[in-house]
Symmetry: D2
Subunit: 269 residues, 4 copies
Amino acid sequence: MSFNVFGVYMIQMTLIQIDNYGPWTVTPTPRTESDLQILQSELFADVQRQFATKKGLVFFTRFDNMLAVTNGINKEDHFRIQRSIRNRYPITISMGVGAAKTPYEAQKKATIALQKAGGAQSAQRKEILAIDSLVDPEDSFVQMAHIDINGVTKSLTDIVTAFDTNFLVNKAQHHLMTKLIEKGALLFFIGGDNFMSPCNGLSPEDLKEIIKEIDEKIDIKHKAGVGRSDNAEDSAYLADLGLEHIRDGNNQEIICVLNQDYLKHIKEG
Amino acid sequence: MSFNVFGVYMIQMTLIQIDNYGPWTVTPTPRTESDLQILQSELFADVQRQFATKKGLVFFTRFDNMLAVTNGINKEDHFRIQRSIRNRYPITISMGVGAAKTPYEAQKKATIALQKAGGAQSAQRKEILAIDSLVDPEDSFVQMAHIDINGVTKSLTDIVTAFDTNFLVNKAQHHLMTKLIEKGALLFFIGGDNFMSPCNGLSPEDLKEIIKEIDEKIDIKHKAGVGRSDNAEDSAYLADLGLEHIRDGNNQEIICVLNQDYLKHIKEG
Amino acid sequence: MSFNVFGVYMIQMTLIQIDNYGPWTVTPTPRTESDLQILQSELFADVQRQFATKKGLVFFTRFDNMLAVTNGINKEDHFRIQRSIRNRYPITISMGVGAAKTPYEAQKKATIALQKAGGAQSAQRKEILAIDSLVDPEDSFVQMAHIDINGVTKSLTDIVTAFDTNFLVNKAQHHLMTKLIEKGALLFFIGGDNFMSPCNGLSPEDLKEIIKEIDEKIDIKHKAGVGRSDNAEDSAYLADLGLEHIRDGNNQEIICVLNQDYLKHIKEG
Amino acid sequence: MSFNVFGVYMIQMTLIQIDNYGPWTVTPTPRTESDLQILQSELFADVQRQFATKKGLVFFTRFDNMLAVTNGINKEDHFRIQRSIRNRYPITISMGVGAAKTPYEAQKKATIALQKAGGAQSAQRKEILAIDSLVDPEDSFVQMAHIDINGVTKSLTDIVTAFDTNFLVNKAQHHLMTKLIEKGALLFFIGGDNFMSPCNGLSPEDLKEIIKEIDEKIDIKHKAGVGRSDNAEDSAYLADLGLEHIRDGNNQEIICVLNQDYLKHIKEG
């Protein structure tokens, strides 16, 4: 796999949407909020576990709408997950799937495919599996950046209030999202001070530039491990290893990029 | 319960923090991201279910640090939840508890109590239960606002891409947080286009003003149901009913406030 | 609390039954077996967690029908659990509650109360909460025996096949059930080589006799810790401590009975 | 696929064992029983979900020792499940895998492979994956019988006590196990009045004979759907369809056998 990420490499994304969820939450009267919170987070954990057995990775996004990187996961796999949810939850899910050169374009195709099948709050639309496109194995490519905030525990968690830390992490998210979306990259909060960015097509230089600009603008310093492979799981793992590498060097570097062949290197090493 | 919310009414908040979580996630090598996502969301669902049996409400916040409104939940209850997590997860949790007139002050006391017991990434600190203060039953008061975006399904979900909707919801969150924190109120994303704001001490007029300012600044229209009772569950439910009331009136109102006695009204009606 | 267990002490039991479950599992066609297994075990875990926050203990029994010891858990508590399940599962549950001097009589009252409200496979009967009787705090008493097989790991798990061990454990269960039911006591498998027997009204001498008879008949040696308190959780814990006590003495004793005041002894010790 | 099941068709079984579980449950003092029950049932649900994504089927067995039919599931798949459990539970699991002409022989090979690696309560043995043998795709064959009790709801659930029904179901299980094990077949309780029997090598005539003998001996009438395919999921589904077929004929038949080609028939029909 070459360093050039502007090839024909394709990322596949799936939009997972609870059918007619809003109306359900208030029928016949508003359902207990704690129950809805449990339902949503268990549904997320559940689809995560199922996509993860095939090396996919799901982001909770808005919970009633989740986005996942699903290279290598086919129609039958998607159908089986829908069936499994229908059998165990009071709600059903519809999905749209799209493949493109950038994550933004891929989720756009996935969204349009699903929107064509009916509205999110249509009582008629149920358990749609709308596939715009799937990535062929030989074109499969996922670039994933794991971005975190430098020294958040020492600089925030242990000294300011829990909500203030939360506020600053959310502020960082807002600024990262704003910058990355311009480059066709997505950004998801994954807990703590961590963000994961599917970012096919984004060059390391551009990512470094974005991190610098945010530091200048809001005085929050990030670093990023970037992983590249043919699936979400391995790319996320390589991104994690990249972050560890930067930490080992006392955060002197801002970016560390690792390619798929590095995994072989580890297994053999 | 009078309309005046600037009395001696107190809200109790609990900070729930995974002990030494950051280091654990990368020991001995980075753990699979999908597993961490499942662990975090199941832990949230789990503590939610346990606090909810006593009418508390937990917000996922940063997942490794969660904030909860816990009026009516005592030391023994907190201890039993810690024990339950220790017995079923590979990690343990520490907690800080604080009571104050505003949610911001309450979580601040909770945070400080826990910080005094050691750092979040200290290998020594484990399963601390640091109680700064608990609310007495006669002082117990929770004001909760359920805020959502007007017509998000028609104006966003069904016409723009899933990530663009997510981006706009996050933008709204950032602006709401920024304004509310100045008033001592907190804001948490609870999925979809919904936010929950523990907001003791915030007047309906100030909340309406904030919503108007945000509409002018970023062109996103919100509405809010506000509930008031002596516990988180009932206040959240009253807030939901308030929202429904506004929807029934075609979103002509921006705010609808309901007090605890409204619940009796429903049960008897 | 005196040693005499034939007083006015009462145990409370709840029957938890999935409404109209059989027909649902094959509608419109048989649902995937793995999904049903997951649904059933997660439902059990879920009601367990909710009853456990109030010191109850649920046994999986037949999964679609579960029995629980619920001393100290009132009507409102039961209702909240039903609501919570309705909001998060594709099925609903009905419950019957009964109180009596023996567990057998208590579950009989609970069963009859529910049967009167309609059949388990009636499409009309839904979310019934049929309370025959609740135990008053001053009468509340739970005697629980934790019974296991001596040295099962060395004598079975590590030398015979997994299924043969399973077969022998099931055989032991069948014989224990047969003997205990004659004394008004129940028996539930709780995993491994462990059984839990709610057994108000059973004397230690009778339990010892049963264990000896089974040893003679099928050559399987059991031991039992017996706990007594006013709730299921503490009695089960005292029973566990009793078993540990017997193990510490190299299984010389067959029975060890511990009363509630032993808990204070530990906490103060 | 011919009707003759005495060919070279092979079934693959996996023994899943919690490492050093017994000692863990009482260290440093006995852990709360409700927590252990939740841990065990959630672990079962979790491995079920993961094996199920590859068409396997897990039986809870003794919970600390589970048996699964795993045709088509390879070494890497097993390893990934072990890793996933290690990352989210306070315990780890070891596995043994064996393939043979009968389920009994397959689980025997799986057990022996794991026993060779160390005892179930050895503190040294951890996360072993001991593979005796895997089934080749061309030899893969699973015969599964879904056995239930005729009219259990009308004859038991709705008229006798919940525990008496449970007692009779357990009695039926004990007798079915005793007879089936002689033929190299296994039997697992799967809830309600249902049993699942992996039974490669058992002829329909022998199964019918066993059901008749049990009716004569203990006056409990069973029926059985039998499914045959190259994986656990499809065989269990065919067995379910077989049971439905018998029910449609008012239980006149005792056995109904369906082969894999019947699935195509449905999909095309």
